[in-house]
């Protein structure tokens, strides 16, 4: 294995579960999540010279995964089938997923109906546990922009929740 491939394999092993988690939390079906993970790492390999080290690699990969997901959603009909074994693994993981996560009815629906940018910002905080600086790296924007956008996203989400008659005090909308 070349030095470049060894380095890539190390980063892959260190980040795979987090990138898989990112994709699974945003895709309704396992085949879509498998596509996102496969395409994210295929893209990372093509740009291996730009893949940073350490925790920066994870943030960079979140950014690639985010773009991959956006492209995927724009072209739902062009599903790639480059990862049959991965599909099997993920189908198994999805079947083990507890149903309780979709029982939050009104909150889930309100959250799903936020615009993509707001939902992604709030997800990066609540699901990936990122702080402002890390989100700024993922999105390729300034920390101030993240602060402003998060503020707006929280406001809009709170308003939408109130409209849906939901009072929720423990929503993880603040950075850890």
């Amino acid at each position: 294995m070349s030095t470049q491939a060894e380095r890539f394999a190390e980063i892959y092993a260190a980040t795979y579960e987090q990138i898989l988690g990112y994709a699974m939390r945003r895709c309704e079906i396992p085949e879509d999540a498998a596509d996102i993970v496969a395409e994210t790492y295929a893209t990372a390999w093509r740009r291996a010279d730009r893949l940073p080290d350490g925790d920066e690699a994870r943030l960079w990969l979140y950014g690639v995964a985010r773009n991959t997901l956006a492209n995927h959603r724009r072209g739902q009909l062009r599903r790639q089938q480059r990862s049959a074994e991965l599909n099997v693994d993920l189908a198994d993981l999805y079947s083990r997923t507890p149903d309780s996560s979709v029982e939050l009815g009104a909150i889930a629906r309100t959250f799903r109906e936020l615009n993509d940018d707001d939902r992604e910002l709030l997800s990066l905080v609540a699901w990936e546990g990122l702080d402002h600086a890390q989100i700024a790296t993922v999105l390729g924007v300034s920390r101030n922009a993240v602060r402003i956008r998060l503020h707006r996203a929280r406001k809009r989400f709170s308003r939408a929740l109130s409209k849906a008659g939901v009072t929720a005090h423990n929503l993880a909308m603040e950075s850890a």
């Binding site: 988690g21 790492y41 390999w45 739902q76 990862s83 599909n87 615009n115 922009a145 402003i148």
Partner: protein, 280 residues
């Protein structure tokens, strides 16, 4: 209990050990078996010269009147001046012939094939043309409805006569509502927020953050653009907020810029505050 965290299908901790699973190993092997050849650069959406060009291009493609007269819901295709919809490979494929049409025309076409779908196309900054801003579905929680929006041919310029926005919907899409980006007319404000300093943005290559209004306005004007403002105000809780109804207050040349967004064609919105806020 944390409701938002509970919405997550899985936590990273639930996936421990997956990196050494068969699927993960097979994927890694298939990826590094190929040489890391750089991918060709994708052609980005180009800024529209004028929306008039778009209108003319699309008008050329307009076919007047419904082409198929069927009772609502029985047709597998329908066309009017605004949209052409067909069932293809088990998915509804709706080609937007006139992105400036009355939304009722889109509803008419959806209704004709038995879909109750609302499509609202809103003026968008060039990067967001052809993207879905928001959507909702009428299905039950857990049921999957597929909605896709793209250009055809892929990544074409919307100013080209052959370039069309295409919406794809699964057959269970009734009840869905979709808000998506269309090209903006010259005097229309964008309904999305898009950072002007991004690549391909109006202020691409320029940093606005932590600069004073006078300095940023000089650059904006140098680029032949106009400025509007949104004022960021301190909040009692220590954060900062914006009141969209109180944005006419005079902005001083010595105020500080937080960010710059695309407001409309040729206009940039600066987010400013009177005090200089030190970043944490």
């Amino acid at each position: 209990m944390n409701e938002l965290r509970q919405l997550a299908r899985v936590g990273d901790e639930d996936l421990a050990g997956q990196a050494s699973g068969a699927g993960a190993r097979a994927l890694l092997a298939s990826i590094i078996a190929e040489e890391p050849v750089k991918e060709p650069r994708r052609r980005p959406w180009k800024r529209l010269a004028t929306a008039g060009v778009v209108t003319a291009a699309l008008a050329a493609a307009v076919v007047l009147g419904p082409s198929i007269l069927n009772t609502p819901g029985s047709a597998t295709s329908y066309a009017n001046a605004a949209m052409d919809i067909k069932l293809e490979n088990g998915m509804w494929v709706a080609r937007i012939k006139d992105p400036f049409a009355d939304p009722a025309k889109y509803e008419e076409a959806f209704h004709a094939v038995g879909l109750e779908v609302k499509l609202q196309l809103e003026p968008a900054s060039p990067r967001k043309v052809g993207e879905i801003f928001q959507f909702g579905t009428g299905g039950d929680v857990g049921e999957q409805t597929t909605i896709g929006f793209d250009s055809d041919p892929k990544d074409c310029k919307i100013t080209d006569p052959e370039c069309t926005l295409v919406l794809t919907l699964s057959q269970n899409a009734s009840g869905a509502w979709i808000k998506a980006g269309r090209p903006a007319k010259p005097d229309e404000p964008y309904s999305n927020s898009s950072q002007a300093t991004q690549k391909d943005g109006s202020l691409a290559g320029y940093e606005v953050e932590d600069k004073q209004v006078s300095e940023v306005v000089a650059e904006v004007e140098r680029r032949g653009l106009k400025v509007v403002y949104q004022i960021v105000e301190p909040q009692p809780d220590g954060g900062h907020g914006m009141n969209p109804n109180a944005q006419s207050a005079p902005v001083g040349q010595d105020w500080w810029v937080w960010d710059a967004e695309e407001a409309q064609l040729g206009v940039v919105r600066l987010l400013v505050s009177k005090e200089h806020v030190i970043r944490k």
